[in-house]
Amino acid sequence: MNMSLVKKSLFTGVLALSVLATSAFAGGKPIKVGDTFPDLTTFGLEGKLPAELKGKVVLLDFWASWCGPCKESFPVMEELHKKYADKGLVILAVNVDETAAAMKDFLKEHPATFAIVHDATKKLVGTANISSMPSSFVLGTDGKVVAVHKGFHGKDTVKEYETEIEKLLSAVVAKQ
């Protein structure tokens, strides 16, 4: 067999595999427990970010208007906000809808008093590279990820949220 033919075949094969690999693994490494969550001010998020996140316990939730479990999670987050905001919890819901109008329509039906921003460019969600909708991250006062929640599973998720948040908030109180 001709050597150049072999080389060409190999080259084509490698090229094909690399294209396949690129399409299959597009996106960054998913953010996991122990990682420092990226600086939110660098992603061009639409809407008002909470004034002070440093030294706060943060629940950051990625959601969309078309996502069923997100509808279930909203009243829960509202309850958590009412219960723990005074104690130092900040809830930030990051919307990943295609349009801000879809987000606003959802918020008319599911009003919320916690902070909501729109990730129009999908830069933040792409960086977090979440594997499920909704996905949420519980961040400690040092900005490190303490827990990652994939999806919203009703009472189970609520229980986990409360345990994690109370543990982190009590650590804050102990430090003071």
Binding site: L5, K8, S9, T12, G13, L15, A16, V19, L20, S23, A24, A26, G27, F62, A64, W66, C67, G68, P69, C70, V96, D97, E98, A102, K122, V125, G126, N129, I130, S131, S132, M133, P134, S135, K150, G151, F152, H153
Partner: protein, 72 residues
């Protein structure tokens, strides 16, 4: 001639493989739409089921995935 065929095959392979794309969880808004559901029209489903059963004595086997939110 052989080379040309090989090159063409390679080109076609690359072209086809580059068409593969993973839909990320946050990009599924269109798939989550009601119109993407396979079971959105009960009348059509019952008529189709009846037709398949009458013609081929076949029934069931409708549990094919595809559309949907893909949430949780």
């Amino acid at each position: 001639m052989k080379r040309k065929i090989l090159a063409l095959t390679g080109f076609a392979t690359v072209l086809l493989l580059s068409g593969c794309a993973n839909v990320k969880p946050w990009e599924r808004s269109t798939l989550a739409d009601y119109t993407m559901r396979g079971d959105r029209d009960p009348l059509t489903i019952s008529l189709s089921e009846h037709m398949w059963f009458s013609r081929e004595a076949a029934s069931g086997g409708r549990g094919v995935g595809g559309g949907g939110c893909g949430c949780n």
